[in-house]
Chain length 608, copies 2
Amino acid sequence: MRNAFCKKPLWEVNDRLVRVAQGKEPADTVIRHATLVSVTTHELLEDADIAIASGRIAYLGIAGHTAKHCIGEKTVVIDASGLYATPGLIDSHIHIESAMIGPSEYARAVVPHGTTAILADPHEVANVRGLEGVTSMWEDAARTPLKTMLTTPSCVPAVLGVEDTGSSIDAAQVEKTMSWPETYGLGEMMNFPGILNNEPNATNEVRETLKADRRVTGHYSVVESDRGLAAYIAAGISSCHESIGIDDVVAKLRMGMWVQLRYGSAWHNLPVYLPPLLETGIDLRHCLLCSDDNHPNTLVSDGHMDRILREAVRLGCHPITALQMATINCAEYLGIGEDMGSITPGKCADLVLMRDLTNFEAVQVYIDGVLVAQNGKPCFEVEPFAWPDYMTNTMNLGCEISADTFRIPAPANKRADASATCKVRTITVDPGQTITRNTICEAPIVDGSLCADHASDLLKLCVFDRHHGAEGTHAFGFVHGFGIHGALAQTVAHDAHNLLVMGDNDEDMALAARTLVECGGGEVAVADGKVLALVELPICGLMSTLPAEQVAAQVQKVEQAWVQMGNTMPSPFMTMGVMSLACVPELRLTNRGYVNCVTFTMEDLIAE
Amino acid sequence: MRNAFCKKPLWEVNDRLVRVAQGKEPADTVIRHATLVSVTTHELLEDADIAIASGRIAYLGIAGHTAKHCIGEKTVVIDASGLYATPGLIDSHIHIESAMIGPSEYARAVVPHGTTAILADPHEVANVRGLEGVTSMWEDAARTPLKTMLTTPSCVPAVLGVEDTGSSIDAAQVEKTMSWPETYGLGEMMNFPGILNNEPNATNEVRETLKADRRVTGHYSVVESDRGLAAYIAAGISSCHESIGIDDVVAKLRMGMWVQLRYGSAWHNLPVYLPPLLETGIDLRHCLLCSDDNHPNTLVSDGHMDRILREAVRLGCHPITALQMATINCAEYLGIGEDMGSITPGKCADLVLMRDLTNFEAVQVYIDGVLVAQNGKPCFEVEPFAWPDYMTNTMNLGCEISADTFRIPAPANKRADASATCKVRTITVDPGQTITRNTICEAPIVDGSLCADHASDLLKLCVFDRHHGAEGTHAFGFVHGFGIHGALAQTVAHDAHNLLVMGDNDEDMALAARTLVECGGGEVAVADGKVLALVELPICGLMSTLPAEQVAAQVQKVEQAWVQMGNTMPSPFMTMGVMSLACVPELRLTNRGYVNCVTFTMEDLIAE
């Protein structure tokens, strides 16, 4: 595939590279005395010189040769004595939205950690604003040096017929995006039932991607690595970051898949897969590293691909092998190894000078031969992006919200009985589990309405369609397990990113909801009529306009509020955010009501 | 890059593959109980089943799973117990013409040895008939199952201004070919001086290939692996089969090249490079195997890629590593790993059932799921190709040939002296050496003409332009070192493929030349007025219309004739064939006269 992310394509500058390599013309930059990590040969090449011209590598001085002949009066000479030179790091699967910051802020957050390219799947924004939203994100991304490669979201909406999203993407739209230069493939094809059943839209999305000679990335998370997996791969899906265990990883590699070993903020597969994988001794040429999700705190405190490399080495992986999985393997998977993934002549000068191969601390980062980060700080400034109105004006609810909005009338026959309760279907969450339980609880009835009950940890849940204005609906449910007093609301709620509100009283719920409607979305904690903490995410209700550090600090305040409100589980915000994720068992709530995610049928709230 | 060589592209058949993998529809063929060579993981997978549908692999039954569910009434079931299943073998660089047979006969010769794809450079035919000749060859090739991938010859003619060839190819023509589906790259860029000096045509040929996202294959044979090599690679040339030694191989790999380890009929680099390469322990992911040239005898007696694999294993290479170099590495180099190079779901069912991994004897060969060879014999018949007239009518000399044609008038001042001799510039050949020496010998003068002299092993040499009819020229020279009585002629003579005649008397030379003019080209041995042996090569004067076995037998007869005529050197035909190769030092003869291949100037015959 052609690589669109070069300052200049090779054919425009190769004559100059040829002259520079031979000392007939000076280089722009010469890096001297580095220990070069050769990912093509799996070697360290000591005292290596690298000459860069027109954004590409013109010459390597190795095996005793130097690049002195490439140095002219204006050549910038960098002494990299004591440092390692590695190819720029590539994240092979990431959702920018998971960091709650926009693409240009994302670039500023990850480039100082040595990341020079990411394969991003804007699944979340697409659910809110479709391809128009994707285009807008990539306009922001294009203002930074980070090579932000697009995979077109394949499953928008994620599950059909059970909720209302802001937009959708079908095979015809996928086809359209495949002619965009920034598109490198199709985003994770989560609809494996659709693929296995020859469902036309899913199949055609894959076909349009294959026709364009781009990669179909996968998401196959079934405890089955035989017929279904083979069928899924035979359909043309060539990579996967969702494996169940080591047997699944090995089966995928044997069946020709490129396997992404994930180590994100929430999902830590790397420690599970990597040690037994190394144990097998099999060829890791088709293994890639990826983060999938990165919360702002992780980016700010721990880093990005450098963090994953550290973990891989800590788990016993040879550092060069780990670097191959973060560089050349990814480039070769995407078919752009001619341009990226190694420090060799002709390639884009995307490289990192690192302190060591244990911590992978980036001292300098170059993209297309330009110094883009130094000592943990980006060297590029980006003006705040002028987000179009359709990206920042996404809270389109059909009703004014007051405490009364959250009133759930009790069944007619019980309204008069002051001491009555009512059996209600309830989502029960267990700490640290994504899977919920489909349970029945007793809700008290007050003034003819079903109420939450703090004493028995029964909270009211409400999901508002925030995309369709007056035509939008909302639905109620109950949830057990969060143990809070007050209310929490968020618009990140996967995968429709509707407005999700949870609380033990209607007043706080109303304040929480109104707060997010007013600020354009985000997450908020409210108790006793007061806003305890707020993260404003005005871009599609998913991303902040602030820098990563400030968003991380705000998120931390919300996390503290959760504790203050009585919650003791790990990652409660994320657990809450998947209450509406209609593709994971057992019970979820969308704006249309309860979805039984085992039978994929709707369920009633009243369970008597 | 899109792979044009599939029976059906994946996007046309993936729905069926999905059904077959799950047992919803029967497979076309199921291979059972094979030991599968997994080149993606570098493993042997025992008792593996392979289900094939619509020319592609639908399902792999491994790790205890079987493909029984894919078997229907009409499914062909193959019991491969005791056999290894490997991906089809790919020759990463080959000149079909070297085997003196046409493309379809070539397919019949190599497919039974497990070869399912070749990357062919029709450099020789292009020098005779240009792109029209290439097109004609590929029309013949297309009638066979062998995936005959084209690299457009880059250096036609090989050297400018010193000889007359039948045709030429420039950058504009290269551009044209890059839109052909059968084109996978640019053929070996031998003009490294042109690249290193920014010569426009050479540079533009590379550029047009890069623009089309195809591979520029190389030929960098200088004892220099520093600045020049880096410049050559930075120009965009990504592979090379012409290395000088192990240091050169390692330098190329470190600089990002894909290195072809050659083991052809004439050039045996593999035994030189492979053992020290294995010794280094570096990653061999970018190493490929290739033959470059294959004489008919080699194909018939020893095989093709199987022969190279045998040699690699004999040299200490792990058989799976050797197979990777002959399968997946090549597919990934070409950017068609999504379609070829491994036995995994979705890929073209190009595979070989082998007896063992020592001899690599192919028991059955499948291409696109069709059994194409069995027990050393092809399963496909090909009608003789109706070669167009311009391909078979290529002996277009400007003169009638008689003994008198070969008369070289002595300098005017010496014609009258019956005992005089004349100093003449002479090519001196040493047994087994490609490089010749530029020497001076004494030629006798008889009847006012310079003569050959059997006693002092001084033979007369003549090159006729066979392409330009009345406008064509011919030139004389002398050669020392062949030691024959009689005459030999050939039209293979590299790189212009003109008519090259050598002998110790004008009558035999005339008979040899006339014989080839009459039969359309080839090689012939004549002594004492009799044709001792003849290989007719009527297709461009380069290729026979007969099967490989018959051509091999004919070539053997010519080789016997050489011995009979007094020659004792190895490969005399090949040594003779490069007498006109104007790019190799020191002295060569073309139809324009002597070329000093050190200074690249013309030299006079008379050296006094």
